[in-house]
């Protein structure tokens, strides 16, 4: 019982008191410490120690009612100002010292109703006849009577309305009638200006639209929600980029010239099926350049970082890692050690070309995978370990001719040397060059 159990479980040494001493002190401790109001077992759950923070005062737990008051419960009739009829209702009432409670029924104050305007026949003739002549006087009268009865609960009114009309139509009629009535009765237009019905008139079509939109949102599947969020984020990004580009382009017209100067030596050797930089990426570059120029001063390394980010903005993390892995395999520093302008430009171009190459390979793989020529070709592992260029010591100066044509059962139907050992024909080794 008590703290020693916990210590047992935890394997902690017990108090330095000898066992006999413990036995003696324990019952003493417990009889001292056990508070009234809680049972012994419950108290022991806390470890037999009083809580460090002041909690509920134990004496509050089972406080008997003050002895000077005499409380009884009686079955008494109740009077409520909310009831207009003579119905006599009864309920239990807490009577203290033989004095029943005074005052109105406590819930009577919640009995509020709407002030529905009442019009005379004259007023109706003069102001309220429906121009479109859908509503007759009888219908309008019925509508107003229902509105009064049901406190403008239009769904209920719509149910009870003898003719079938939609909730929006009923609302429309009620509000336009009331508005016209207010205008007709007002002494001056000024005092009406703040009336909520005048300030914000009911618009039936907007109401319909709103309800339709709500129901559409409610019925959206989770999938749809995710897609919407993605599209919104994308749109936001595009508008921001365009805004940045436009802002920079305004004072300086040759923004295009700058793009040209950054990629000076893009070779036209790239094949036709190469994934040309999408318009999104070009906008990225433009806006990055624009934002760099707006800085008026920046470090070359920072500029390169931003452009690299722009180049990788449209691709996933995996692809970025693959680009970096390729750079490493080829012995290129991920961040140039001597970042001059030419070095940075070349570095950026290299990254872009590797990206294009990787995309090409992916495209190729996907298209080949669907063809009937499965076999070794399509069975290409796409793990992060997959290297475009196998890591080999880079030996420049040693010029070895390409030993053999890349063997693949690609669309260039070569029947000459099928070699199942070549799983990835694209995998050129550094030694191949």
């Amino acid at each position: 019982m008590g703290g020693t159990d916990a210590k047992d479980i935890l394997g902690l040494p017990k108090t330095p008191l000898s066992l006999t001493q413990e036995k003696k002190s324990r019952p003493q401790k417990e009889s001292h410490r056990k508070p009234d109001g809680i049972s012994r077992e419950v108290y022991a759950l806390t470890g037999g120690v009083a809580p460090l923070m002041p909690s509920i005062d134990v004496t509050h737990l089972k406080r008997p009612p003050p002895h000077d008051e005499k409380v009884a419960w009686q079955w008494l009739p109740v009077k409520s100002s909310a009831r207009k009829d003579d119905l006599q209702l009864y309920h239990w009432v807490r009577v203290v010292n033989d004095v029943p409670p005074t005052g109105d029924y406590s819930f009577a104050k919640y009995n509020k109703s709407v002030d529905v305007l009442k019009y005379t026949d004259d007023e109706y003739e003069n102001h309220l006849t429906d121009p479109v002549s859908v509503w007759t006087k009888e219908e309008t009268d019925q509508l107003f009577e229902l509105c009064e009865r049901f406190d403008l609960r239009f769904t209920v009114i719509a149910d009870r309305f003898p003719l079938s009309r939609t909730v929006e139509e009923l609302k429309d009629r009620y509000y336009s009638v009331t508005r016209a009535l207010l205008r007709a009765r007002a002494q001056s237009p000024a005092e009406l200006a703040n009336h909520p019905l005048i300030k914000e008139p009911y618009d039936m079509t907007r109401d319909r639209e709103r309800k339709r939109a709500l129901s559409m949102v409610l019925s959206q599947s989770r999938h749809q929600e995710k897609k919407d969020a993605e599209i919104l984020a994308e749109a936001k990004r595009i508008t921001e980029m365009r805004l940045a580009a436009r802002r920079a382009a305004e004072p300086d017209v040759p923004a295009n010239e700058n793009i040209g100067s950054v990629s000076p030596s893009s070779n036209s050797q790239l094949p036709a099926t190469a994934v040309a930089p999408s318009t999104l990426t070009m906008a990225d570059y433009a806006s990055t350049l624009a934002s760099l120029r707006m800085l008026h001063v920046y470090l070359r390394t920072y500029g390169l970082e931003q452009m690299v980010q722009a180049a990788s903005s449209a691709v996933g993390l995996r692809t970025i890692k693959r680009v970096e892995q390729t750079l490493q395999d080829l012995g290129v520093n991920l961040k140039p050690k001597v970042p001059t302008k030419t070095v940075c430009d070349e570095h950026l171009e290299l990254r872009k070309e590797i990206l294009t190459l990787l995309n090409l390979q992916k495209q190729y793989k996907e298209s080949e995978g669907s063809s009937h020529r499965e076999g070794t070709y399509a069975a290409m592992p796409d793990t992060p370990k997959d290297r475009v260029f196998a890591s080999e010591p880079f030996s420049f100066g040693a010029e070895r001719p390409i030993k053999k044509e890349p063997k693949r059962k690609g669309p260039g139907r070569r029947s000459d040397t099928p070699s199942p050992a070549h799983k990835r024909p694209r995998k050129l080794k550094a030694s191949d060059l």
């Binding site: 300086d252 040759p254 010239e257 700058n258 100067s261 070779n267 050797q269 790239l270 094949p271 036709a272 099926t273 190469a274 760099l292 120029r293 800085l295 008026h296 001063v297 920046y298 470090l299 070359r300 390394t301 500029g303 080829l330 012995g331 290129v332 520093n333 140039p336 050690k337 001597v338 970042p339 001059t340 302008k341 030419t342 070095v343 070349e346 570095h347 171009e349 290299l350 070309e353 590797i354 190459l357 090409l360 190729y364 475009v388 260029f389 880079f394 420049f396 890349p406 693949r408 690609g410 669309p411 260039g412 139907r413 024909p425 694209r426 050129l428 550094a430 060059l433």
Partner: protein, 264 residues
């Protein structure tokens, strides 16, 4: 160019611009030259000497942190002042160096990141530039006890880029050895330098780091190797495109054959 400018300003009143064709004086000052880039190659680094016999518990190394021109030219042409933000355990850790060479020497025991803020002359740029340098006192690879004669040198190369520089700035720094100016557009008439805007420059005493006592520890940075490697790698990547090109050609050839074969 500099000398003549100094002469003009010795009259101590800001001279009005002369020789500018028409136009408002102020407008010409703040006009930017588009398509031109001014870049200043710098090296940011530190050199740390072990104090050897004189080393105490909290003063084991004498170190110097600096921002210098990559070819040791005078950075004062562009930089007005440099603030080195030292570790808070140093007394008044915000050290301001307002004349070149922009170096700071101290004595300590710990390695930490030094934040460096660079301020430029008004005609160059109103904004400041931030960079940081990790102070290294001990060599990366332990190779025996440190010698007080061989310091630990950590340097990194970078370039400060001013895109679309102001006309006045461009005219002042054009042809200065510390500064690279990209190709100027044809027929650009730069106004002659010498104006109140860059007074701070003329007031500063000049200071390159060519004869700095630590200069023989400075590293030389050349982009030749890196450039070579990059262009060679790009060639390799081009070669990797080759099979795709061939596949495309083959596909197109087949398509052509089919098209030719049709009208029979």
């Amino acid at each position: 160019m500099e000398d003549s400018a100094v002469e003009i300003l010795s009259a101590s009143t800001p001279k009005p611009r002369i020789g500018i064709d028409g136009g408002d004086d102020n407008k010409n000052w703040r006009r930017r030259v588009n398509g031109v880039e001014v870049s200043v190659p710098i090296v940011c680094g530190s050199i740390a000497f072990y104090r050897g016999k004189k080393a105490k518990e909290y003063r084991t190394h004498n170190w110097t942190v600096y921002v210098r021109g990559a070819t040791n030219e005078d950075l004062g042409v562009v930089i007005r002042k440099v603030i080195f933000h030292l570790h808070p355990s140093f007394k008044s850790p915000t050290r301001v160096v307002d004349s070149p060479p922009f170096t700071l020497s101290e004595c300590g025991w710990g390695e930490f990141k030094i934040d460096i803020t660079i301020f430029f002359h008004a005609d160059a740029c109103e904004r400041k530039l931030e960079l940081s340098h990790l102070l290294k006192l001990n060599p990366e690879i332990y190779s025996g006890p440190q010698s007080p004669n061989v310091p630990v040198v950590t340097e990194s190369y970078n370039e400060i880029v001013f895109p679309d520089p102001f006309e006045c700035f461009l005219s002042r720094v054009n042809n200065h050895p510390a500064v690279h100016v990209s190709k100027l557009p044809e027929g650009l008439n730069l106004p002659p330098p010498g104006d109140a805007d860059d007074e701070s420059y003329y007031k500063m005493k000049k200071g390159d780091t060519k004869d700095h006592p630590l200069s023989h520890w400075f590293l030389k940075f050349s982009d030749a190797d890196e450039l070579f490697r990059l262009t060679a790698t790009r060639q390799k990547v081009y070669a990797a495109f080759l099979p795709f090109v061939q596949a495309d050609i083959a596909k197109l050839k087949r398509q052509l054959v089919m098209v030719d074969a049709q009208p029979e």
